[in-house]
């Protein structure tokens, strides 16, 4: 065989590898919004975020970081994915501490009520969106069921069949590229549905599951050892009226015994100023109106309770000033759509700045 043949083989192999790499990064997306949102987290300069909020959808639909910055001056990011289950909390916390050393970590407690804490889809929404790292491998080993671990380590094995979502995935890639070019995410993982849910009376138990307790303990043990100044567990306000149960009380005890704080924000709906038939897009999630009020309240609460330091590098301040300067435009636009009950889930900068429909 001549030398040119070996070269041809090498080129072919290289081309194959390149194409597969591209295909992999394009296709290995569990959830579009989570992929974009977590990508934004990794774009933030290290040690620039003061508060990291961890939890499932109540967090990223209820809290708008640029607004909190505008009002109180501290930076924050919602490290939050859809149906985020409790086993992920501990790793999200570790990730947040490793990258940002925040002054305050906030955990939303609804995830401790899930029965199937190792639900594959929920785990994937977070883990598959992480770039490969020692932390990710450790998380896979420890919280992913044994039989699924290989397909978490080689996501392409599963996601190659996502070609039928090619259109949406191409959009995700475009969004990421745009964010990269800009250098940061403007909307900091915020997502919303422009809809006003009329008031529905619902009552149900707030029941913490056995596995929920288990992973809460794991989280608490980790936090006790970790270098973190402040930790706050919150319960978000919902349209649904939850009845506190024994397990709920036990959960609060556990948190406080470990030396951390818990606050029930659904008791503060009046102070927040929630307009129950207007501020939710369904019975468990704030729309943009509710998010603005909730953000205002919570940011103020955090500032008062923890006296967050707001000094940052000029580069960081510039980035956040840029984001905050769009608040009027973005929130105003979203408010308009919500008044129209336009519906549909919006989460990318594109959605927030141009007509999305």
């Amino acid at each position: 065989m001549k030398k040119k043949h070996w070269i041809k083989i090498a080129i072919f192999a290289a081309l194959t590898a390149l194409i597969l790499l591209f295909a992999s990064s394009l296709l290995c997306v569990a959830n579009e919004k989570d992929a974009v949102g977590l990508y934004g987290f990794f774009l933030e300069p290290e040690d620039s975020i003061d508060v990291v909020l961890i939890g499932s959808s109540s967090i990223y639909t209820g809290f708008y970081s640029p607004l909190a910055y505008e009002q109180q001056g501290f930076t924050s990011y919602a490290l939050s994915t859809s149906t985020m289950t409790a086993p992920l909390y501990r790793y999200a916390a570790e990730l947040a501490i490793e990258k940002q050393h925040p002054q305050l970590l906030i955990f939303e407690t609804w995830s401790f009520t899930y029965e199937d804490q190792q639900d594959e889809t929920s785990l994937r929404k977070f883990l598959d969106a992480l770039p490969d790292s020692e932390l990710k491998q450790r998380a896979i080993r420890e919280i992913v069921p044994e039989e699924l671990q290989t397909s978490f380590r080689n996501p392409f094995e599963k996601y190659h069949s996502s070609w039928d979502r090619f259109g949406e995935l191409l959009q995700v890639m475009q969004d990421k590229l745009q964010m990269k070019r800009q250098g940061y995410s403007v909307t900091k993982n915020f997502g919303t549905t422009p809809f006003r849910q009329p008031y529905l009376q619902r009552t149900t138990d707030y029941e913490v599951s056995e596995s929920g307790f288990y992973y809460l303990q794991v989280l608490l043990d980790y936090l006790k050892e970790a270098e973190i100044e402040n930790v706050l567990f919150i319960r978000c306000p919902d349209m649904v009226q939850y009845v506190g149960t024994d397990s709920y009380k036990r959960m609060i005890e556990m948190i406080r015994d470990a030396g951390f704080d818990f606050v029930n924000l659904s008791a503060a709906v009046e102070d927040i100023g929630v307009d129950i038939g207007h501020d939710y897009y369904n019975t468990t999630h704030f729309n943009v109106f509710g998010a603005e009020k909730f953000t205002t309240f919570l940011a103020d609460y955090m500032m008062k309770r923890y006296r967050l330091r707001t000094d940052h590098d000029p580069a960081v301040l510039e980035e956040w000033d840029q984001c905050a300067s769009r608040n009027q435009q973005i929130l105003g636009y979203l408010e308009e759509l919500t008044e129209q009950d336009a519906n549909g889930f919006l989460y990318t900068q594109r959605d927030f700045l141009e007509p999305a429909f």
């Binding site: 065989m1 001549k2 043949h5 041809k8 083989i9 072919f12 081309l15 194959t16 194409i19 597969l20 295909a23 296709l27 699924l148 397909s151 094995e157 599963k158 190659h160 069949s161 070609w163 039928d164």
Partner: protein, 545 residues
């Protein structure tokens, strides 16, 4: 490890590297080691069986060779001193001895195959019909036994027929039997074509690597993108086939035809591609079978190596055996007439009796051969039915051939016209398609029922509008299947019309085209292939034989 698994590719890569690094004259040892490792990994417990077949055949062949040599020596020394009667007697004696040796080895090996394959079936029939209480063997068939047994017995019969001298090195013969690419689903090799390539180390050539690799990709495309996808659909449709309208039976058969062809021919392409990368050319097993214009032609284009084997070692021996020849010739002798019938008479220039005498030996032998093909596929009445369906149709088509010719002449049908050819192709496809009911039905009666339903598509349970039948695949998946089948059809059409190998024309034209298509095929397999968690990779259909 299946033929479409990463493990297999890693294995092949390792074998390739070692094979081409080792000095040329030792390369066959690499193949032998690889084949034994392969067999051990897949079916360690069955190893004794294949070793027995290889050893017994090798020894039997040597024995035959020795007998032939000794007797030829005696013959050459003595024949001038013998009269014709003595010569004939000596020949007969030699034949008798050789025949005994052949029979011994054949009975041993075919016996093992027959027992392992059919014992449980026979026991079941006895238990059910004669109230017996015999117990089952319950042994799993050794991997590839139907293939390697046939291959070895073919070798032995060739030695008996003095086609070539026996192989004296047992390890070399063992390689011929266990050669790993062919062990799972064939093709059944011809000794004189395969063995020399195996024993002689092959040079490392770029064309071999390239062509072989392209063939593997093409096979994977057919198997992983098309066949495995259709298999998913069949998994949804087959369980409910009795609850949906008869029209669906036709569709199910169509899907099955496509799935079986892509699965089997795809697997064979992978096998031949692996062989090709090792510089070894293996037998072609498929020649665009659905372009056949008749059932006989179909069996020259489908599972070619099996049919060639049966034709050489079963059909011909039976058809030209003394009893058969005498039977046919006696009929002809009895019906010799003075009058010469015109060529275009009903029976082609013969009387009916004469015609029978000429064709019956072949026709009956064909019928028997297809019965064997039927039960080769499986030990059950439905597979016997498969054999009967093919055998009977061919039997009567042979018998009535002159009548068809007469009809065609009378109706002035243009047999060279495209329209007629298309009709022939479609008609054959239908006959073949219907024969596949025996594969997928639950038993013989069910198969017959299915065939019946195909002729009455408007009958049967009506599927109400609104309750859609779950085909098991999403619309996008059907799009992929149909696109894939169109590609396969286009390629087949090209091959059929031009007789050229696509790979050759591909690589002869612009290099760009070749690169793009090869890369494209690879990417298509990787992205559209049915693999990964939640997809039970369909084992090759023919692996259980």
């Amino acid at each position: 490890m299946t033929l479409t698994s990463l493990t297999f590719f890693a294995f092949v890569l390792a074998v390739l590297i070692v094979y081409y690094l080792i000095p040329k004259r030792l390369r066959w040892l690499v193949l032998l080691a690889a084949s034994l490792v392969f067999y051990g990994l897949l079916a360690l417990k069955s190893l004794p069986f294949i070793l027995f077949t290889a050893l017994s055949t090798w020894a039997g062949a040597l024995w035959l060779g020795q007998v032939t040599r000794k007797r030829t020596q005696i013959w050459n020394e003595q024949k001038s001193g013998w009269d014709p009667a003595a010569r004939k007697a000596y020949k007969k004696q030699t034949q008798k001895m050789k025949r005994r040796i052949l029979a011994l080895i054949l009975v041993l090996n075919f016996g093992i195959l027959a027992v392992l394959k059919y014992y449980d079936f026979v026991v079941e029939q006895i238990n059910r019909n004669a109230g017996g209480h015999l117990s089952f063997l319950g042994i799993l068939l050794p991997l590839g036994i139907s293939f390697y047994t046939f291959q070895s017995m073919g070798y032995l019969i060739d030695i008996y027929g003095e086609k070539m001298p026996p192989e004296s090195n047992p390890l070399r013969y063992l390689l011929y039997v266990t050669f790993f690419p062919q062990i799972i689903q064939g093709p059944i090799a011809d000794y004189q074509k395969l063995a020399p390539q195996l024993y002689e180390g092959q040079d490392l050539r770029y064309e071999n690597l390239k062509y072989g690799f392209q063939l593997i990709l093409w096979g994977l495309f057919k198997k992983m993108v098309i066949a495995d996808r259709l298999a998913v659909s069949l998994q949804s449709l087959l369980p409910v086939k009795d609850e949906i309208s008869n029209a669906w039976q036709l569709l199910i058969l169509l899907i099955y035809c496509a799935q079986l062809y892509c699965d089997f021919s795809g697997g064979i392409d992978v096998v031949r591609g692996v062989g090709g990368m090792l510089g070894i050319e293996m037998a072609v097993n498929f020649k665009r079978p659905f372009f056949s214009k008749g059932l006989a032609e179909f069996w020259q284009r489908w599972h070619i190596s099996l049919c060639a084997w049966l034709r050489t070692y079963l059909l011909y021996p039976i058809a030209v055996s003394k009893p058969f020849l005498r039977f046919g010739n006696r009929i002809i002798e009895k019906s010799r007439s003075e009058q010469e019938l015109p060529e275009d008479s009903l029976w082609g220039g013969f009387t009916f009796i004469q015609h029978l005498g000429r064709v019956l030996p072949g026709a009956i032998a064909t019928l028997i051969t297809f019965l064997i093909i039927g039960i080769w596929h499986g030990a059950s009445w439905q597979y016997a039915g498969y054999g009967v369906w093919n055998g009977v149709i061919l039997f009567f088509s042979m018998l009535l051939a002159p009548v068809f010719q007469w009809l065609i002449r009378r109706l002035h049908i243009q047999t060279e016209s495209t329209g007629w050819k298309v009709w022939q192709i479609l008609r054959t496809a239908v006959i073949v398609g219907l024969s596949f009911t025996f594969d997928i039905a639950d038993g013989l009666m069910d198969a017959l029922r299915m065939i019946g339903k195909c002729f009455t598509p408007v009958l049967g349970p009506t599927t109400h509008l609104g309750t859609a039948v779950d085909t098991g695949l999403a619309g996008a998946d059907w799009g992929v299947v149909i696109a894939g089948l169109l590609i396969v059809f286009a390629v087949s059409l090209y091959q059929e019309l031009t007789g050229r190998k696509v790979r050759e024309s591909l690589n002869a034209d612009s290099a760009w085209v070749s690169w793009v298509l090869t890369l494209g095929c690879l990417i298509a397999v990787v992205i559209f292939g049915m693999y990964g968690p939640g997809v039970a990779s369909g084992e090759f259909v023919y692996m259980q034989f």
